[in-house]
């Protein structure tokens, strides 16, 4: 049977406010356990929440970016359940009246096609604390520093049909929230977390199959892996004569496997009701308009601009415009060296490969934009060859210094002294009389093939530092003459 997967995403995006959504505690990560948990964050008796204006503003910015309806009135509700990382015994969230309704995100897929994914809604809520299982001799330790960090949960419609589409959606959302500067996008710190709803149905079928939810995916790679496996698993179950059970599954990044966390029958009854400690949030039209006029450039607009302004291919423009940090890096390199094409080649090629391999963000790249621009300039002005440029890049990556320092200390400057080069060319001709005779006797077509041998010899003698154009000129003169 030909199966179609139906995929919907729920994405928890941590908003990068300075303080928490309902308290004045810092949201910075890495502090000592429970040192950034206020009395409210700890669920102390009598404490009360007051809403952070920036959390609301950042949610509105997201709504504007995805062309959604901003609710002029939204309501916080309590989602009641017991868990040790949930100090009040409820999570303050939104259900019936969320801050953002609808909206859509367009994807440019790898095969060049475009796709639009609709959003159901996005709501504001507070993050929970963390349960720590190591170092507590069989007990669990609770750190509530993260409790109360603002989240916006983005819920898509089940509009995706493959892991690749889901990943493209997640990447695009990542690009949007980082471009808006509402989230730092640091997946390793859990700044974006994905829950994936997957079901399958025979292709052509309209009704949805029973879905499962896989939680705890905090990287694009895990998400892709989990979706692939879940689709396969469901097909196996159904083709084996079984039925998919509605359940929540937990993905384990270490094993790459997911397992059943709880089945629907055991699901909690969350007893949502309007939080009596918080009043309805009223968002004025004027506030929305003020935020609208202050919107930064978004990935789609940037992609178009990059293609036009810098003459980039669609592919290059797409890669460079997605992430705000990448785009900024690219534009900084171009501003220094003036060569957008070379900048694009370097960033999408060498740099991207090294960053990916090291799981390093472009902001933390050991080769900064100024250095990369300098390397490109040094190729352009003939100081180094493009082959040597890779060596320089590598040395800079390893921290050996600036490009010019590396070129100097390693003696990588191209031989521009034609007297010295001429002497080496003469030497090569003198050392290889048979090849020279063969060359001279050959027809033009053969000569072209044989010419490379002499170039190679010269390069070998110069340690690769000779300017290839100069080598060609000199060899041509001497061999033909």
């Amino acid at each position: 049977m030909n199966w179609e997967a139906v995929i919907g995403l729920e994405v928890h995006v941590q908003l990068n406010t300075r303080s928490k959504i309902f308290s004045g505690s810092s949201t910075a990560v890495g502090a000592e356990p429970n040192s950034q948990a206020s009395l409210l964050d700890l669920g102390m008796p009598g404490t009360l929440p007051v809403l952070n204006r920036e959390a609301v503003n950042k949610a509105v910015r997201l709504g504007l970016a995805i062309d959604a309806r901003i609710s002029r009135r939204c309501v916080f509700e309590r989602k009641n359940y017991f868990y040790p990382d949930l100090p009040k015994g409820y999570q303050t969230s939104q259900l019936a009246e969320p801050i953002i309704l609808g909206g859509e995100i367009s994807l440019n897929l790898e095969d060049g096609s475009e796709k639009t994914v609709r959003l159901h809604h996005a709501h504001l809520e507070e993050d929970a604390g963390k349960s720590l299982h190591e170092d507590f001799h069989g007990m669990t330790g609770i750190d509530l520093n993260r409790a109360g960090t603002p989240l916006i949960e983005v819920v898509s419609e089940p509009d995706m049909h493959s892991a690749a589409e889901a990943v493209a959606f997640a990447r695009k959302l990542h690009a949007i929230v980082t471009s808006l500067d509402i989230c730092d996008g640091d997946m390793s710190q859990g700044s974006m977390r994905f829950d994936v709803n997957v079901s399958i149905r025979p292709r052509g079928e309209q009704t949805l199959g029973t879905r499962t939810e896989t939680k705890n995916l905090n990287s694009f790679r895990f998400m892709e892996m989990a979706i692939h496996r879940e689709i396969e698993r469901q097909i196996e179950v159904v083709e084996g004569g079984g039925e998919v059970v509605q359940e929540t599954r937990l993905f384990n990044g270490e094993t790459g496997q997911a397992r059943t966390m709880r089945i629907k029958e055991e699901a909690d009854d969350y007893r949502y009701f309007p939080c009596p400690d918080l009043l309805p949030v009223v968002i004025e039209e004027a506030d929305i308009e003020a935020l609208r006029t202050d919107m930064p450039e978004l990935p789609d607009a940037r992609r178009e601009r990059f293609a036009q302004q810098y003459g980039l291919s669609d592919y290059d423009a797409g890669l460079l415009s997605g992430e705000r940090a990448t785009a900024a890096y690219f534009e900084a390199v171009v501003a220094e060296c003036g060569d957008a094409k070379q900048a694009a080649n370097w960033i999408n090629g060498e740099l991207a490969a090294r960053l990916n391999a090291g799981e390093i963000g472009i902001k933390d790249s050991p080769v900064n934009s100024a250095s990369l621009a300098r390397i490109i300039e040094r190729v352009a002005d003939g100081t180094i060859s493009s082959k040597i440029a890779k060596q320089v890049f590598e040395a800079c990556w390893q921290g050996e210094g600036s490009p010019d320092e590396v070129i100097e200390s390693r003696g990588l400057k191209q031989m521009s002294d034609s007297g010295e080069l001429e002497r080496i060319v003469d030497q090569v001709i003198a050392d290889n009389p048979d090849q020279v005779a063969g060359y001279r006797a050959a027809d033009e077509k053969k000569q072209k093939k044989m010419f490379g041998f002499f170039v190679g010899q010269v390069m070998k003698q110069t340690g690769g530092k000779a300017n290839p154009r100069e080598v060609n000129r000199l060899l041509g003169e001497k061999l033909d003459g």
Partner: protein, 95 residues
């Protein structure tokens, strides 16, 4: 609306309260007395009436995004029934 002991047990489980066998019957009786009184609500004419969650229908005030809290860990950890290394301790949580 009358509750049976099984429903009461489910509600108790949701509320993380433990009712032992001997209490359960008496608790169920008391709850049914209360719900009997509460059921008078069903006679009220409430069609087209908006629910009212707050007595004063005002809008939520917003505060500036500023860090105003300092570290209170030393104050609060002394209140914890079980604590280690600044973390609250609970029996192992298995997901």
């Amino acid at each position: 609306m009358a509750l049976d002991r099984e429903t009461v047990a489910q509600v108790a489980q949701l509320a993380r309260l433990r009712l032992d066998e001997t209490e359960s019957a008496a608790v169920t009786d008391r709850l049914n007395e209360i719900l009997g009184m509460v059921d008078e609500l069903q006679q009220a004419e409430v069609a087209d009436v908006e629910p009212m969650a707050h007595p004063l229908e005002l809008a939520q005030p917003l505060r500036a995004d500023e860090v105003t809290e300092s570290d209170r860990r030393d104050d609060v950890m002394g209140l914890a029934p079980a604590e280690e290394g600044g973390c609250y301790l609970v029996p192992r949580v298995v997901e």
